[in-house]
């Protein structure tokens, strides 16, 4: 009886603590003007991605040969491409692809990386050795090259590109989680949990992992930006997502042929991408400072 009461009280206290910590972090984040700016831009991009079909003025795939290669005008704000498609609409709709690629690949890398890192860090021994040597091998291949090779294996297309980009991030997250586990696994609370017959899975993911989460959050936020750029690079060398899909990298790679005559076709998708990555970096920077106040002062 007393125990449950205590438990409830503790849980409540815990909830208050948790809430206040998040509040604290948010407060610190909001003090950083650049981070807020990044967050606002990022939210805008997400809104555009979600509501793209509703807000684009023209169909992103609609060709109109009569109006091809027009410069920016009142009708076509950012001009038209060589098939007469409205570039503004394509960029807005392309947010879905580029943001989706970045988030998808990072989420994939995070999910698998965290699981592998938890296993390696918790169990140690030959399991750890095996997983870490596996990471060594894949880290010895520069990221862009690994993405290129896997993209060759899987072929082009959205899902395949997500996988190709995500695999490179697995080793990164795995290493980070394992390093955090190494410092945690001998602490008292882990021993206490083991003593109360807590299952290994619960111990790993519910008790230890939250202590390792903040570098992961920051790294993934920053990683989305880098992944989006790498995706564009893949499209640029005719892998990744291909035209006619309005992914920004694909648009840029198509526009490259006409760069001498219609430079705006290359300029606008690049700017759209630069602002998104900038927002992600600003937000990630702010998040890092907010999560780890020691670094700031």
């Amino acid at each position: 009886m007393l125990d449950t009461k205590n438990g409830v009280a503790l849980a409540e206290e815990d909830a208050v603590k948790k809430q206040s910590q998040i509040k604290e972090i948010l407060k610190r984040l909001c003090k950083n003007k650049l981070a807020v700016l990044g967050m606002v831009i990022l939210l805008l991009y997400i809104l555009v991605a979600v509501f793209a079909p509703l807000i684009i003025p023209y169909d992103f795939a609609e060709m109109n040969i009569l109006e091809k290669n027009q410069g920016p005008s009142a009708q076509h704000w950012l001009g038209t491409d060589d098939f007469g498609r409205d570039i503004f609409s394509r960029i807005l709709y392309g947010t879905r692809y580029s943001l989706g690629l970045g988030i998808g690949a990072c989420a994939l890398g995070l999910a698998i990386g965290v699981i592998l890192g938890c296993i390696a860090g918790y169990f140690g021994g030959w399991v750890e050795e095996l997983i870490m040597r596996f990471c060594d091998v894949f880290q010895a291949i520069p990221g862009t090259l690994l993405a290129i090779v896997i993209s060759m294996l899987l072929g082009t297309g959205f899902v395949n590109t997500v996988i190709a980009l995500g695999i490179g991030r697995i080793t990164l997250n795995c290493r980070m989680v394992r390093a955090q586990f190494l410092s945690q696994r001998k602490l008292e609370y882990v021993e206490a949990a083991q003593a109360t017959n807590c299952s290994k899975v619960k111990l790993m993911f519910v008790h230890i992992l939250p202590n390792a989460i903040s570098p992961l959050i920051v790294n993934t936020t920053m990683g989305i930006g880098g992944t989006i750029m790498m995706a564009a690079g893949l499209s640029f060398i005719s892998l990744g997502v291909r035209p006619p899909l309005p992914e920004w990298g694909a648009m840029m790679s198509a526009a490259r042929e006409f760069i001498r005559y219609y430079p705006y076709q290359l300029l606008f998708p690049g700017l759209a991408m630069a602002f998104l990555v900038l927002a992600l970096n600003l937000f990630g920077d702010g998040l890092r400072d907010a999560l780890d106040p020691k670094l700031k002062n």
Binding site: L239, M252, I259, L282
Partner: protein, 325 residues
């Protein structure tokens, strides 16, 4: 120290071998039959089968893998290109210098520009110099390299006509590719240098030095700088890998006949042997660079060396963890 260096060298060998195995395996399962790619679409099934026999493609996977490893690491032969039958190792040898110039110059610019920029930002924290540096740095990591490359080409080659639009026959041709390839690294390095320097400046021994009346100049260059540089070596190694990967795209933007261009052409032709060869060579180059970084680490930071001498790294780490607990 020698023991440490030898240990690191021995550790790199299995990694390099396994990288080759991994890349061979991935490329082995890529869709498309090499024999069919060589003979073209119109070839008869018999011809294709004969060529497959000749190339050993009908052998079991492990036999092929063994043969590949033997050729690559014992005979130093990377095979022949599917499309023109030329030796891949020879082609890479003639192209390697261009890629290396691109990657190494990027590293050099990072050191010469990025580190002082970050240091200046740290010592003038909160001032306009700090803000300027950080704005430049964050823009530097936010724009795609090939995009900025093409924009610069447009400006300097087409509009202003100061620099050639393609090729590296003259030194002018190198200007834009090197700048573009180093941009991201410089930005990263400046950020890293700033935060690393900030951390050191705030440490107690600097305050002690200041209290004892050392000049700011001596404090900065004699005491703070050497310690702030240590984490930057790691960044430098990682960004060498990045700029090696980056050259693949940069060489294509600026039509530089390096390994990256060779590779992208091979991607277009589905020339798997070439892709395999180039990726393996670039990965080995990267691994060797990381080896250098680790050895350099050992020289500048005695803590790292201590992990390797004695009873080996892993046991040490565990012991330390236990001691903490």
């Amino acid at each position: 120290m020698i023991r440490y260096v030898i240990k690191r060298i021995l550790m790199i060998i299995p990694v390099v071998l396994l990288v080759a195995v991994a890349i061979f395996t991935i490329m082995h399962f890529c869709p498309g039959d090499p024999a069919e790619i060589i003979l073209g679409v119109g070839a008869s099934a018999d011809d294709i089968n004969n060529l497959r026999d000749q190339m050993g493609l009908n052998d079991p996977f492990f036999v092929q893998l063994g043969r590949y490893m033997y050729q690559t690491f014992i005979q130093f032969d990377l095979g022949e290109s599917f499309t023109n039958g030329l030796s891949i190792a020879g082609e890479i040898a003639t192209r390697f210098s261009k890629t290396l110039v691109l990657a190494l110059s990027a590293i050099m610019i990072q050191v010469v520009v990025g580190i002082p920029l970050g240091m200046a930002a740290a010592t003038h924290r909160g001032g306009w110099l700090d803000h300027l540096c950080m704005v430049l740095a964050i823009i530097g990591i936010s724009v795609p390299a090939f995009w900025i490359g093409l924009q610069l080409l447009l400006l300097f080659a087409q509009n202003l006509r100061w620099l050639p639009a393609y090729g590296v026959d003259t030194w002018q041709g190198w200007v834009l590719p090197i700048i573009v390839n180093s941009l991201r690294g410089v930005a990263q390095m400046a950020r890293q240098a700033r935060s690393s320097m900030l951390e050191v400046i705030r440490s107690d021994y600097i305050s002690t030095g200041r209290a004892k009346g050392l000049s700011e100049r001596k404090l900065l260059f004699g005491y703070a700088l050497p310690n702030a540089l240590i984490p930057l070596i790691q960044t430098l190694g990682m960004s060498f890998g990045q700029s090696l990967g980056g050259t693949v795209i940069i060489e294509n933007v600026f039509s530089i006949p390096g390994i990256g261009q060779y590779m992208v052409k091979a991607i277009g032709n589905r020339d798997y042997a070439v892709i395999r060869g180039t990726v393996v060579i670039l990965s080995i180059a990267f691994s060797l660079c990381m080896l250098l970084v680790d050895v350099a680490f050992g020289f500048v930071d005695p803590r790292i060396k201590a992990q390797y001498t004695g009873k080996g790294k892993r046991r040490r780490v565990r012991k330390e963890a236990k001691a903490h607990a």
